[in-house]
């Protein structure tokens, strides 16, 4: 396996010594079956995980790029549902996509959606729980699926334009995207900077009042609480005793 394993990832490597067909002859085509299985199956895992990236660069380019990524970043765990966590950083350095600087953040959004899909289930609070008199000092626990992804590019608009039939072409500038999972399907939506600051502060465990201060005076509190309740994103209100 010390010889077998590296040759799997190196298409130029010779067939490792000591392998043959059952009659002692060369086993090049036979070894290539394993080599092919490794690259193809891991490429498919990336295609499943990053459908929008695949659409943005095209299927053929994606397969070639995935081959480079798989060989330099093979999975470190047999749980492939989260394979590709290193892809955004890879995309930032991969010269052939330097003209698509938004790609890494779109990949981060696809990863956040995948994390949300597999996140733990949680029961949302009843809306009237927010009327607690000690709310300002309370910590708001958000559903485990909740994610924020910030980018200088309109990544949610790009995601939608490449995921939904009839979605408008992506325009605009920086976006912070809130990912929620009301039931089983994660959903991304862009949120304003003050809403993003508020939710990020709650997620970091700051008390409600401190999160309000972090958000700033312009925050439409009733709108953001409606959003969090509608998306079943608040799972507990922890009032200090």
């Amino acid at each position: 396996m010390n010889r077998f394993a590296p040759a799997l990832l190196d298409p130029a490597a010779a067939v490792p010594a000591g392998l043959s067909d059952a009659r002692g002859r060369s086993a090049k085509r036979r070894f290539d079956v394993y080599r092919n299985n490794v690259i193809v199956s891991l490429t498919e895992a990336l295609e499943t995980g990053f459908p929008v990236i695949e659409k943005l660069v095209g299927a053929e380019f994606f397969r070639a790029m995935a081959g480079v990524f798989v060989r330099s970043h093979p999975p470190v765990s047999p749980v492939l549902t989260m394979y590709g966590a290193d892809l955004p950083a890879f995309l930032e350095q991969f010269e052939p996509v330097a003209h698509l600087p938004f790609l890494a953040d779109v990949a981060r959004l696809e990863l956040a959606l995948r994390e949300a899909y597999h996140a733990a289930d949680a029961r949302p609070i009843a809306p009237d729980a927010l009327t607690h008199p000690g709310l300002m000092e309370a910590r708001i626990r958000l559903a485990p699926a909740t994610r924020l992804v910030a980018s200088p590019y309109p990544i949610c608009a790009i995601w939608r334009a490449n995921s939904e039939a009839g979605a408008p072409p992506a325009r605009g500038g920086a976006e912070t995207v809130l990912v929620t999972r009301p039931d089983w399907d994660p959903w991304p939506r862009p949120v304003s900077p003050d809403v993003a600051r508020f939710i990020a502060a709650l997620a970091a465990g700051q008390p409600f009042g401190a999160a309000l201060a972090a958000a700033g005076d312009a925050l439409d509190l009733s709108a953001v609480l409606t959003l969090l309740l509608d998306t079943k994103s608040i799972t507990a209100i922890e009032v200090p005793t």
């Binding site: 396996m1 010390n2 077998f4 394993a5 799997l8 990832l9 000591g18 392998l19 043959s20 067909d21 059952a22 009659r23 002692g24 002859r25 060369s26 086993a27 090049k28 085509r29 036979r30 070894f31 079956v33 394993y34 299985n37 490794v38 199956s41 891991l42 895992a45 093979p74 999975p75 470190v76 765990s77 047999p78 749980v79 492939l80 549902t81 949300a116 899909y117 597999h118 996140a119 733990a120 289930d121 485990p144 699926a145 999972r181 089983w184 399907d185």
Partner: protein, 283 residues
């Protein structure tokens, strides 16, 4: 050694569960009496996959089939992965757990393929240690599946069937006999699959797998069959299955179709065919 009265899968057809069939299975499972899932697809914290598996487990016996333990590897078993598996087995309490005589990880990298190992005294000892470690960690007997292989190791000194018999003796594990893998590996070695079945330690078998394969040729023009799980089971494999059943008696039989997954009626028809062979004894 583990359970005085071990649970076992029903001696009837099952299929590998695919999420796109979820609704169809609940409405009308047809000839399908149990389901197999790949362990590694259900290691998230929650969400739809876990919810679906919970609901299916209320209706059907479940077989958990691991593809990532790398039992045939040189490296120590991945303890974190074993713990994830233990967690899944604990909450799901499946009827059966199986893994492969193969390796898939080496030097910290996971290759997502079932890779072959030489059959030597050294690998026999290390595979037996790994099986014992898995069975101890999970607190249950496991089934070990025979591989589909494409090439041979010069250093191999054991026949594969003998290697399995030795593993059963040393670990008390059960075996999962993949009849398509027997057909593929024996054809690739130029050997007779019927002789393999006849030499296999049949009394340890707790499950049979059937699946489709692709046919190619190597650079010498010799047949090179590839275990693709992307088509129907071919007639010669059905015939070999009927022969196998004459040795095992009625046995839980799984249809594996993992690539180019067909619609539910097509997959169910394969299970119906397995039910017919189970009932009539001929393919």
């Amino acid at each position: 050694m583990f359970d005085a009265q071990p649970k076992s899968l029903p001696p009837s057809p099952g299929v590998g569960f695919k999420p796109q069939h979820y609704g169809d299975i609940l409405v009308d499972p047809g000839a399908v009496t149990w389901l197999e899932v790949h362990a590694e697809n259900y290691m998230g914290d929650g969400g739809r996959p876990i919810a679906q598996l919970r609901a299916l487990a209320d209706r059907f016996p479940i077989s958990v089939h691991g593809v990532g333990l790398s039992i045939g590897g040189e490296d120590p078993l991945d303890r974190a992965h074993l713990a994830r598996l233990r967690h899944l087995i604990d909450w799901l309490a499946p009827t059966s757990f199986s893994e492969h005589l193969a390796w898939s990880s080496h030097g910290g990298a996971f290759f997502n393929d079932l890779l072959p190992l030489p059959y030597t005294d050294a690998t026999l000892a290390s595979v037996a240690d790994h099986i014992n470690e898995v069975q101890d960690a999970l607190g249950r007997r496991m089934l070990l599946e025979n591989p589909s292989t494409y090439l041979d190791f010069d250093e191999t000194s054991w026949l594969e069937t003998e290697f399995f018999a030795q593993l059963v003796r040393r670990t008390d594990c059960g075996l999962l006999l993949d009849v398509n893998n027997v057909f593929v590996a024996c054809t690739n070695r130029g050997e007779d699959p019927y002789s393999y079945i006849d030499a296999f330690p049949i009394e340890a078998v707790g499950e049979i797998h059937l699946g489709g394969h692709d046919a190619q040729q190597d650079e010498h023009g010799a047949p090179l069959l590839i275990d693709s799980h992307g088509t129907e089971v071919i007639d010669p494999v059905w015939a070999l299955y009927a022969h196998t059943l004459r040795r095992t008696g009625p046995m839980a039989t799984l249809i594996e179709w993992d690539n180019d997954v067909p619609d539910w009626p097509t997959l169910e028809a394969e299970a119906t065919r397995a039910a017919r062979v189970l009932a009539e004894g001929v393919a």
